[in-house]
């Protein structure tokens, strides 16, 4: 594994461009930066995050769960309060709305942990190479 470290984005990007220009395949390059460097993501052709599927699934589950919980519990022991309908959609909508956000956010968090491969016990227990630097790791054949 070859390693290049830099203190700033400009030399880091210059080196990355150079490596790519000299024919190093994208798959063999890994970069680590202290903040997101979008140019590097573009150069490495990092695929668009699939996180949205987790978010959407979570949000949809929350929305359905909100209505399911409220309608099920209202009908399992029907109690009339002030003549309001047993299944009153406007108030149930509020529960569904809150659960959409709750489960959407929680699913996004779990999806992120899965996709970004954290928590990573290896990197918690050992110190991280070139931590805090703009680093390029090139896998050698």
């Amino acid at each position: 594994m070859k390693r290049f470290t830099f203190d700033d984005t400009e030399p880091f990007l210059a080196k990355l461009r150079e490596l790519l220009a000299t024919g190093t395949p994208v798959e063999r390059i890994e970069v680590a930066t202290p903040f997101p460097v979008h140019e590097a993501l573009l150069l490495l052709k990092t695929p668009v995050s699939r996180l949205k599927f987790f978010t959407f699934t979570g949000a949809l589950t929350g929305f359905c769960a909100g209505f399911a919980l409220t309608i099920y519990s209202a009908t399992s022991w029907p109690m009339s309060h002030g003549g309001k309908p047993i299944v009153s959609l406007p108030p149930f909508m509020i529960i569904a709305f809150e659960l959409t956000i709750l489960l959407g956010a929680v699913a996004s968090l779990l999806g992120f942990l899965y996709l970004a491969r954290v928590p990573a016990p290896k990197y918690i227990l050992t110190s991280i190479e070139a931590d805090g630097k703009f680093a390029i790791f090139v896998e050698e054949l």
Binding site: E30, L41, L51, M79, P91, E98, I101
Partner: protein, 443 residues
């Protein structure tokens, strides 16, 4: 003031050094502040213990004023939480640059304020050990909670709000925790090692991270509006004069952001001085937040006027009588003090010189905090004390226990905030670096 380094790499190093220097061994003033906060917190806990031991009569609540200081405190603290989400999520979506100076402390404030607020419904309960009856769970008698009741909406709204803001706070912290892991040595390092969950900042990780941050901001924005709307519906869904009105939701949301901005100023003005981070939280940043304060103050002022307009043009005698009582009755002092603190005093922020004077802003923010607490007090207590039937009118009892618990909530809030400033980085180092890189990168 230190001169800013020309070189980016030197700037990155200096930001880290400055922010992490703030987390070093505290000075005597810090310990003093912590001691005062802890004492207040202790007083609050003792009062709560006394209330549980001796019964609810010590809380000053009575018939008709069954909602008193605890509900006032609850609404106050939920409101304080709101500007944290506004600054971190809404201003993020609008790409407002000045948020970077405040977002970390505002997010911490949100999480702590919701925790504080969350205690009040429990303190308000007669038998606190049955608080779980609020949750919908299947029990042997198949008795579910009533989902048509706004109090149950509140349980969902506030617990969702706490969860989402805690996640948002943590995700924002993650790259900075990775810096802490590198910079802090000794046994304390393990704390940051575990909290930073092995974050490396690879291209893939950042691409997922940015998506997640965006999604959380997008979730938090409608959430923050819904939470205080739901809190306002606790009142507006009833038929009590002074509560039963459709403007309550926007009125409460604006008030929440207003009070939260004031609390951010109250916390950050001394914090930047004590921690020596004046370079990163500048007067320009404060001016932006002062403008937000002025804007929300005018919405609140408009709502105060509108309430009267609706009461007097609506032709409902109970509403009219109630609003006359609010202005001229037993609670006129808190009412007029509230108007002074929330509507008149913030108008001085139209003067640029005052907006940029931090001592003035700090003092003003204290007045707004008081004013916004009084607003909730006035809304809750006057309406209950003076409803339809003169035979049922009555004022709450004076209660040292309720005051002690209110003081205790401030003690709890400041204790947690003081712990936060020494344990976690108070500025988003990663975002500051990123901003600098964007300013200087030429591609």
């Amino acid at each position: 003031m230190k001169t800013e380094p020309v070189n980016n790499a030197a700037y990155y190093e200096q930001v880290e050094a400055d922010v992490f220097a703030a987390m070093q061994k505290p000075r005597a003033t810090y310990w003093l502040a912590l001691a005062i906060s802890l004492t207040c917190f202790g007083i609050g806990l003792a009062c709560w213990g006394w209330q549980i031991f001796s019964g609810m009569h010590v809380s000053g609540k009575n018939n008709p004023v069954g909602w008193y200081m605890y509900i006032t405190d609850f609404v106050f603290w939920v409101g304080i939480a709101h500007s944290g989400t506004l600054i971190s999520a809404v201003l993020f979506l609008f790409r407002a640059k000045f948020r970077k100076a405040f977002n970390r402390s505002a997010e911490a404030m949100t999480v702590i304020a919701v925790m504080t607020a969350g205690l009040f419904p429990l303190i308000h309960l007669g038998r606190v050990w049955f608080f779980y009856w609020l949750m919908p769970y299947p029990n042997q008698r198949l008795l579910w909670v009533n989902f048509r009741s706004p109090l149950v909406w509140d349980v969902f709204a506030v617990s969702t709000y706490f969860t989402v803001s805690a996640v948002f706070f943590y995700i924002g912290l993650l790259p900075d925790l990775a810096i802490a892991r590198r910079r802090i040595t000794g046994i304390r390092q393990w704390f940051y090692r575990i909290l930073s969950i092995g974050w490396r900042g690879t291209a893939k990780q950042w691409s997922h991270y940015e998506k997640l941050y965006g999604f959380l901001a997008a979730f938090a924005t409608p959430l923050v509006i819904s939470v205080h709307s739901v809190v306002s519906w606790d009142f507006a869904m009833s038929v009590i004069p002074g509560w039963h009105t459709t403007i309550f939701a926007p009125y409460f949301v604006a008030g929440a952001i207003f009070s939260g901005c004031a609390m951010v100023i109250t916390l950050v003005v001394p914090m930047r001085k004590i921690l020596g981070i004046e370079q990163y939280i500048t007067v320009d940043h404060f001016e932006s937040i002062a403008k937000l304060l002025l804007f929300t103050s005018m919405i609140v002022g408009y709502a105060y006027i509108l309430e009267y307009a609706m009461a007097f043009y609506g032709g409902n005698v109970f509403e009219t009588a109630h609003f006359m009582f609010r202005m001229l009755g037993d609670f006129r002092k808190p009412y007029w003090l509230m108007c002074f603190c929330n509507v008149l005093l913030p108008l001085t922020l139209f003067i640029r010189k005052l907006r940029r004077n931090l001592v003035y802003l700090f003092v003003l923010s204290l007045f707004v905090n008081v004013g916004m607490w009084l607003e909730r007090f006035v809304i809750i207590v006057t309406s209950l004390a003076h409803d339809f039937d003169p035979y049922a009118w009555g004022n709450p009892n004076w209660s040292w226990v309720a005051i002690g618990i209110t003081v205790g909530s401030f003690g709890m809030f400041f204790t947690f905030f003081l712990i936060f400033v020494k344990v976690l980085p108070v500025l988003s180092v990663t975002e500051l670096k990123e901003e600098r890189a964007h300013e200087t990168l030429h591609i």
